[in-house]
Symmetry: C2
Subunit: 733 residues, 2 copies
């Protein structure tokens, strides 16, 4: 073994391994990087390079929209061929502008973009929005041109949005650097939801559906090719915006992952929900597929685990995205809410209970006295929880308030009331509102949701009184559960730091199981006593030192999966058996893999008992080292029961991973087995994660399979570590 010396520091920010502060680019911190977007999103002045007099052209629409919405600042059209553009004075060049604009919109053909970026940079403009297409999305030459744009922006200390993006809008200041035709049919409504999308078309899709639903999205940023500004940057900027309460994000891939993670952390710290759709769920990353564990797990599971750990609500449809965003505008995030349900239909109550059970929402019964009181009011009611108040309440509306107060007063953190179309009926709705509003006011911290079918006006009236309104009770339950998940994320205890590893020398390679185990043993990881032996005689001598029973395994750098040729002999009980096993394995190797390089054999004490598990590491192309836990053997293969987490992490996360796995019940003593030493196992898992972080991009894959979870302690049964050559680039600019 040889390599460069390394002091793993267990720093959470070491997620991407070897990378330093370069992640923040020219900025001292992620926060500084996010704040630098202000000229792009909320400028005081704007220039339009390639401004057009035709309000339907790419260079014309931004101006038309900004005029229509009254941008609060000077607009400088730049067009050498015209004196005015859409009735505003035009300027022949960037140099001719009377002041340095905070931001410039570039809408000229691709070959002319760079010269304009340079000119803007030279004048000191701090942001450019490149609407022009024809860059990395086209071909390699386009990618090169794009890199030149990014380099120019970096050199001038500017932030650059795009190219090949639909731009953005910030309706609060009438800023519309976008050519989206969706604005023809209406501008965004006022509200507190921010949209960020890599795809212009999908961002517009979200915005249009939101507007049709009556949801206010005053801010929408599309990032296109992300030469510089990423969705992470925008999330980070929005997280600090006091007028935004919820961020909805659409992504196809994650660039600058450490800024992305820092942005999610900033949003969580600000108690600002991030609701994200990340497509490409069915694609497996080619790099990740190289390791056995990863081939079972796939890229998208890494994404899932990262988003979950960051408190992001990952959604699969625009509908779910906007349901959750709508619910989040109530700004009530009760962690692990207990749900109280009032219903006028027993069936709806059952359906709601089904959903609540499925989503892990507790629905404890109403206290006995409260039940008895309601039963006295309506004899045929079933006031347990769901509280079926029956349609009787519509004959005597005062009962509705009594039922609602009984549930709210019992301290449920969330209330769902199913009134269906009756709640929208002109004859009943006014009574309902009069009864419910005082209850709502009395319990302002309770998340209060109505399932009613009402027209928009009545819906707004319920909302004004502090209720969320969903037609579909199932969608209401899902939204309540999502708010609970946000609450849990916002109030999560601080995580334990990853365990410290002793200083170690990074090996250039670890050719076989014995080298891998020696490396692990030096780090203090539990491996069985064992020796490399080259002959039957050496094996017998070693056996005397090691004690019985023993295991003998073939070693060869060319044979990572030795059991494929039966290269392992278990349960060797005496010296004779050891000698015979040596001879047999030698014959096997000679028969099946005569060309394989010889590295002797590993004679080891056999581990007895315990539950076979696996611990793995692989290097995710986006998020760097990722650890995996699962039961060993056929479980992982047949049931994909593998839990992933980005490295490094502490023992608390490791325990969560273990308990999250379905197979964990075996470790917890299912089927009369002895309870495994989960403490020791979790410590090993956390240490492996620290090792993953320390190895960084050098890591290809590490497979500890099996790891024996014993009643006391833990032992690594087999180890395979694959490393990349030492000289490697970094994966994040």
């Amino acid at each position: 073994m040889s390599g460069n010396r390394c002091e793993p520091d267990g720093n959470e920010n070491q997620g991407n391994g070897d990378q330093g502060n370069g992640d923040w680019g020219a900025f001292a911190s992620a926060q500084d990087a996010f704040a630098s977007l202000t000229p792009l999103i909320a400028p005081r002045s704007v220039a339009i390079i390639g401004a057009s007099d035709d309000p339907t052209r790419i260079g014309g629409r931004p101006l038309a929209y900004m005029k229509a919405r009254g941008f609060r600042g000077p607009i400088y059209p730049v067009n050498p061929k015209r004196r005015t553009v859409q009735e505003l004075a035009a300027f022949p060049s960037i140099d001719a502008l009377p002041e340095v604009p905070d931001v410039a919109i570039i809408a000229v053909p691709a070959p002319h973009v760079l010269e304009n970026v340079e000119a803007l940079g030279a004048r000191g403009t701090r942001g450019v929005i490149v609407l022009s297409a024809g860059f990395a999305e086209v071909d390699a030459a386009g990618a090169k041109a794009q890199e030149a744009l990014a380099a120019a922006a970096r050199r001038h200390g500017m932030r650059l949005l795009g190219p090949n993006c639909l731009g953005l809008f910030n309706d609060r200041i009438g800023f519309y650097p976008t050519f989206s035709s969706s604005l023809e049919t209406g501008y965004p409504l006022p509200g507190r939801i921010g949209i960020v999308s890599q795809s212009g078309a999908f961002g517009t899709h979200i915005f249009t559906i939101a507007r049709n639903r009556g949801l206010g999205t005053p801010l929408c940023v599309t990032t296109g090719n992300e030469a510089d500004v990423t969705i992470g940057d925008v999330i980070g900027w929005l997280a600090a915006d006091p007028e935004i309460d919820v961020i909805v994000a659409y992504a196809e891939g994650i660039n600058a992952p450490r800024r992305f993670l820092a942005a999610l952390e900033a949003a969580r710290a600000a108690r600002q929900p991030v609701i994200m759709m990340k497509v490409g769920r069915s694609a497996l990353g080619a790099e990740a597929a190289r390791s056995h564990t990863a081939s079972l797990a796939g890229d998208d599971r890494v994404m899932d685990s990262v988003l979950e750990a960051s408190g992001v609500l990952r959604v699969r449809t625009t509908e779910e995205m906007l349901d959750f965003a709508y619910a989040a505008t109530a700004r009530l995030y009760p962690p692990r809410p207990r749900l109280g349900v009032i219903t006028v239909s027993g069936g709806a109550g059952v359906m709601i209970s089904d959903y609540a059970a499925e989503l892990g929402l507790a629905m404890p019964p109403l206290p006995e006295e409260a039940q008895a009181a309601l039963k006295a009011l309506v004899p045929f009611s079933a006031p347990r929880n769901p509280v079926d108040c029956t349609a009787q309440v519509f004959n005597e509306p005062a009962l509705i308030g009594r039922f609602a107060e009984a549930v709210a007063g019992a301290g449920y953190e969330a209330l769902l009331a199913f009134f269906s179309q009756t709640g929208g009926a002109a004859s009943i709705a006014p009574h309902l509102r009069a009864e419910l509003a005082p209850v709502r006011r009395k319990h302002p911290d309770m998340l209060a949701v109505l399932s009613v079918i009402a027209d928009r006006e009545l819906t707004r009236a319920y909302e004004a009184e502090g209720f969320l309104v969903f037609e579909d009770p199932a969608r209401a339950v899902a939204a309540i559960a999502a708010m609970g998940r946000l609450g849990a994320a916002f109030t999560a205890p601080e995580r334990a730091p990853p365990p410290a590893l002793p200083p170690f020398t990074r090996p250039a390679s670890l050719a076989d199981e014995k080298e891998a185990k020696d490396f692990l043993a030096a780090l203090g990881f539990p491996v069985p006593p064992g020796e490399r032996v080259w002959s039957a005689a050496e094996a017998v001598a070693a056996a005397r030192r090691l004690g019985f029973p023993l295991v003998l395994k073939l070693l060869s750098p060319d044979l990572p999966h030795k059991s494929d040729i039966g290269g392992v002999r278990l349960g060797l009980g005496d010296e004779e058996a050891v000698a015979a096993a040596f001879d047999e394995l030698e014959r096997r190797l000679a028969t099946h893999r005569p060309e394989a390089r010889r590295a002797g054999m590993l004679l080891e004490r056999m581990v007895e008992g315990g539950v076979e598990c696996l611990i793995g590491l692989h290097y995710d192309p986006v998020f760097g080292p990722v650890a995996a836990f699962g039961l060993g053997g056929i479980f992982v293969e047949l049931f994909d029961d593998v839990i992933l987490h980005r490295c490094p992490f502490g023992i608390d996360v490791a325990k969560d991973m273990i308990h999250k796995s379905r197979g964990a019940r075996l470790l917890e003593g299912a089927r009369g087995r002895p309870k495994a030493d989960i403490e020791a196992f979790a410590l090993l898992l956390a240490k492996v994660s620290a090792l993953g972080a320390a190895l960084g991009p050098r890591l290809v894959a590490l497979d500890l399979n099996p790891v024996f979870a014993l009643a006391e302690g833990v032992v690594i049964g087999d180890a395979l570590i694959e490393l990349r050559n030492a000289q490697m680039g970094q994966n994040e600019g």
Copy 2:
């Protein structure tokens, strides 16, 4: 063993065991029973018992609605206190009616319902709709009163809907025997969707949401307490209605399960989709939980398996229900459709691909030549599949037709085109329609779906041209996949009959493993050679006859789970070991369960190799005997990997069950194992299902666990059969 002689006939209709034709009540067949609903749903004349002059009262609303919608036939209000009711001539009594009405609506207090049912029956009325509440939903006395209603109806040969139901409407003939207030805000739209719901409130909820979505539901039946008419009856009636294309159903429980199953079969034969929400997913049936297998499976899985086998689309939300119903109105059900996707957003294409992959929809690429042709049209397009035609097409609308024709012409059975809000833009939609309509006409058998955000008028225009329209692409994909599932159900090959069992005598009980295995052996099921032994000497003598290796197990009717006290000794290699094992087990029994009745021990040849599986039977309180298949051991416990099917079934269904289980890969030769003899295993599973059907309600539970799936053949390792006393009632009236 003793019992009554039985000739299992393998008749599919024996699903509920011992029951005879009583299931069809007074009718010769299920079809006759369904047809007898015609006077209820489509009568030529109607009487209203308890008719009210007040159009907002329960006895007033039906008349008001029928007058408003012009019921096509005479309406006879019955009210002894009035000459007219809502301007119609009233009659003082049923006897005073000028003719026998086809149907009568009863809206009098509960205590007076029976006398009216009797009077109507005496006059020869063939249907009654009881809106009155106060029966089984209240208490035991109410249940008794309800049974009296049902008995009276049976005696008079009438069908009775309700009591405690919201009635129904059949807008096609203006028939409105309902007091639903939802009609105040609008009558149903014309269309071809029928609704049936046990819950009045939830039925109204579905109807109201459907109407708000613009879906036509001219028929809606609520069944309430189901004293006689069940949702199965209504489904059976609707299946024969040529003006209904789709049935949506809401259920809380299934009464008269054989009529229900016959109705589903009738709907499938008529290619009429049944889309059903069954709530109570999280509740476990108490009866079913008695068997080990069932306690893992639960009632709702039985429901799932029955609905799936019947070709029903089970849904979880009203939204999904109405999405599928809407899609089904196109009456295109391509089995296993290949999906071609056109998109103006690459991201939407990825998202659609994710969904298609998840739902098992194939998206094969466009043929190479077609791709090349499209690439020539739009150089930046990505025309594989999804076919990303880019927003470029909006600049040159003729391209849209070329792209659509390229995909449609390639023979995809389903087409999904994502145009988002652009497809709803006034400037673009006319071009889009002009381009798409000819393609649609040229390929009438292709399911054609647009994902556009358009107002209702434009949506209707697209629909009139033969397109389905969904805003959300994910919901569009789900609907397309659902239509494919319907197509597969409608074209499913006829199933093989269950295997015949030899005639056998039903045992009164099977006290222990040996009795169970002798019973199974007599039916030709594969059990290992074995003998009951009472002493170590007998055991040794038996061992000589059986050969080695052997297994010895404690037998006692008080010890069904003998391994709990270590009552099994495996791998006995010689006579000495057998004798020692006998003594040891005897000591164990004396120590741990001294009170247990002695029944000797079972000495058996040990089964070597193979994969441990389980086959189970339990008696579902609704659907009767149900068979279960799964891998044995911890799999079933940790992963719930158990596949259920109602008994009996043939070998083809048995093979489907095996392959559906996730653990099946072990039988198929995963991880280098020898392939198991799936043919033999499936035959045993099918035979067990035939046994389940033959045992009928006598069955409590049967557990064969493990069953060894060998490379050749199959052997039952352990058997436990629990039977009920012979004298049992039937579970279906």
